[in-house]
Symmetry: C2
Subunit: 436 residues, 2 copies
């Protein structure tokens, strides 16, 4: 049987703050060797383009090609994948895509402008990015749901070209991933990966077009490369391990909650699953369910390690205390498995996604509820948001002064500019003041 | 007389693309000594808190204090500054603040949710950050306008506590900066600066509260520190040199345009000023104005260096070609000094702020038009936006499944999760499916 230890905390214990800090502590270790390797790859791709991409693809993925063009996947091949996968998978992908598209359309932002009393026009022009790059991991962690979640918001935003890269180590192609690309409307696909693919998207090569922003998950090399090219292009967040926090009033079937915790823990050994409840008895029941169900899980080893290292069952006085602890954690996923989630949600200030009520398994949100599954991790929900259409739109301020407005506000600008010692600013404004 | 050379380009020349790339090339040089110094300071502040802040403040700013509390500026002192500055400055700051507040209120985003046919609730909850940190440079580049532009959007967003830090090298306090803080509603002010202030805001000390996001400009030490703490807290952009691109049809007074170019060039030697016009004759006129006006400028040396190194006058066939080049540059500031800016703006896809018409001097936007003056530089307007209220709000997805919805979508999630080999996900969803 798989061995597991399950940490217990109580908000009433004297050292609770310290214990909670220790539980949450997770540091993105900077690996200097990885940094050096990634810088070398990026420099090569930047200066030598396609040739470097081909060399690294042969070296790391054991895929050799005469040109990067050979590594492009045609739209016909994407359609072929769509027709080849099992019918229930295709149907599920299409249903998920429809719901994701429907939700994200509500995030679209529009340009606006208004005119003040002087006839001065002020506004904000909202435009899509020209091109977005989507990194999709290959090999065993190939997730078609990620293709939908990253590509659909970009297309909804109006991005003209979504360029996807996906490595095919040893030539292994995942048809479900290609089918998802077809459904999401991805414009071009290259079977390249790693830091070399990030470099190709950031700098452009003769074959791969330079994009404006790179999104999507990847291993440490991909994450490091994204961090390096940030500024040349935009990037989405650099994700830490996935986390779930469940607040339960003690009345949800404990097997359900145990499985919800597992669904996070099965991602990887660093994933974090926390349950908070005012009922110690209920925490005991969930612990029993964990021990009962664990041996039945396909990924029992990963789950056991993750639970033993990073999980906790936390006893609190009441649901308000649970909400306060949740705000301290700012979890990626927050399940409110309680009778009245509507009331509790009022007390929640920080969370990537909030799952209301006993029927709302977090896993539904991962695939097909509609909202994005790319969410801020490691407490960054304190200041950041789920991936959305807004990540693929940007704003330009619009200012149009009438002669009257320039006269009136030029005087204000002049005083402030001279106060800051910037006289060219002052004189530029003063030219537009009417002589009196 | 101040010497200046003025670069001329023509979009018709054979090597125009290369020449333009060379003109725009600007690389944020990574300075390893600065990196090391900043990492040391951050580590000290993180581990030793107030004591380290006091040591570095004494070392770098020649300000010694017995405690960090002594370095806090009281609200009474801010009010005192407001009453002490010249009446026209106070009035100008208040007028600017009113316009900035009015514009930014239109950026506020609201929560929304909707219910689908199955009774499933989906939505987006929008909340402000708890605390924001605002870095304000001290010494000679002390800009009260920056205080307004950074603090007002945070307060409009509903941030409960805005904590400002401003170094006072050798104890020199800028009353106009403190007055701006009073007008903007800054909650607390500490006279600390450099990497130590960034560290104090990011990690918190006994005296300085930890914030969720740090915004505001600073020197290379401050910028490097912000880059380092990114992830622990949010940060705004890391700004490159300021730039202006003016598109003129040749009918604006050439002195006005020369002064607009100067208003950018006077910031620093790296600032970039570019003028594009279909009229070669007009470019000659502006060049003559530049040579005529330069000797009359207070900051003539900085302007001459900036113009000689980084400015250009570019001749194009027509305004559409100007717009295409502008989209390639994605300028921070774009002046459309033409007869029909409304028509030209349709062709503009990327710019931080767009100034429409001959009366709209960019300098008006720096101070009091209303929109923010913190804008994406170095071509990053391709994928990023002006600082705004949205930088101080974040979103949480809301998902609430009805029993019926969980039954229907649980089946979809189950197929997709099993397709990805994530069976805990599948089983968690399947628990919520009604047995048939």
């Amino acid at each position: 049987m798989t061995d597991v230890t399950i940490k217990r905390l109580s908000a009433a214990q004297a050292d609770f703050d310290t214990a909670l800090s220790t539980l949450l502590a997770w540091e993105d270790s900077v690996d200097h060797q990885v940094n050096e390797a990634v810088r070398h790859i990026l420099h090569q791709v930047r200066t030598r383009g396609d040739a470097a991409v081909l060399e690294f693809t042969e070296k790391f993925d054991q895929v050799s090609a005469a040109s990067v063009a050979e590594l492009e996947v045609s739209q016909a091949r994407l359609q072929e994948a769509l027709e080849r996968i099992p019918r229930d998978q295709r149907r599920a992908l299409e249903q998920a895509a429809d719901r994701i598209r429907d939700y994200h359309q509500r995030q679209l932002q529009n340009s606006w402008q208004y005119e003040d009393a002087d006839g001065t026009v002020l506004g904000q022009k909202v435009t899509p990015l020209d091109r977005a790059g989507l990194y999709v991991p290959g090999g065993k962690a190939a997730y078609p749901s990620s293709v939908l979640m990253n590509a659909i918001p970009a297309k909804v935003a109006g991005v003209s070209e979504v360029i996807m890269v996906v490595p095919t180590p040893a030539g292994v192609v995942n048809d479900m991933v290609l089918a998802a690309a077809a459904i999401a409307g991805v414009d071009r696909v290259f079977t390249i990966g790693g830091a070399q693919a990030v470099g190709a998207l950031a700098y452009g090569t003769d074959t791969v077009p330079a994009v404006d922003k790179i999104v999507g998950p990847g291993n440490i090399y991909v994450a490091t490369a994204k961090r390096e090219v940030f500024g040349v292009v935009g990037i989405d967040m650099i994700a830490g391990p996935s986390e779930i926090l469940v607040i339960c009033d003690g009345k949800t079937d404990p097997d359900w909650i145990a499985m919800d915790l597992f669904s996070q823990a099965e991602h990887d050994e660093q994933a974090q699953s926390i349950l908070i409840s005012p009922s110690r008895d209920y925490l005991d029941q969930v612990e029993a369910s964990i021990r009962k169900l664990l041996p039945t899980m396909e990924r029992a080893d990963i789950i056991a390690t993750s639970i033993s290292n990073r999980a906790a069952l936390i006893e609190v006085a009441d649901l308000s205390e649970a909400a306060a602890i949740s705000n301290r954690i700012a979890p990626e996923h927050l399940e409110l498995s309680v009778e009245d989630p509507e009331a509790l949600i009022e007390e929640i200030r920080h969370a990537g996604a909030i799952f209301k009520g006993r029927y709302t398994a977090e896993a539904l949100g991962d695939y097909c509820a509609g909202p994005n599954h790319v969410l801020p991790t490691s407490g960054t929900a304190r200041f950041s948001s789920p991936l959305g259409v807004y990540d693929f739109q940007k704003r330009s301020s619009i200012i149009g002064f009438s002669a009257k407005g320039a006269d009136r506000m030029g005087r204000v600008a002049s005083v402030l500019a001279r106060g800051e010692g910037l006289t060219a600013h002052a004189r530029s404004a003063e030219y537009r003041i009417k002589e009196s």
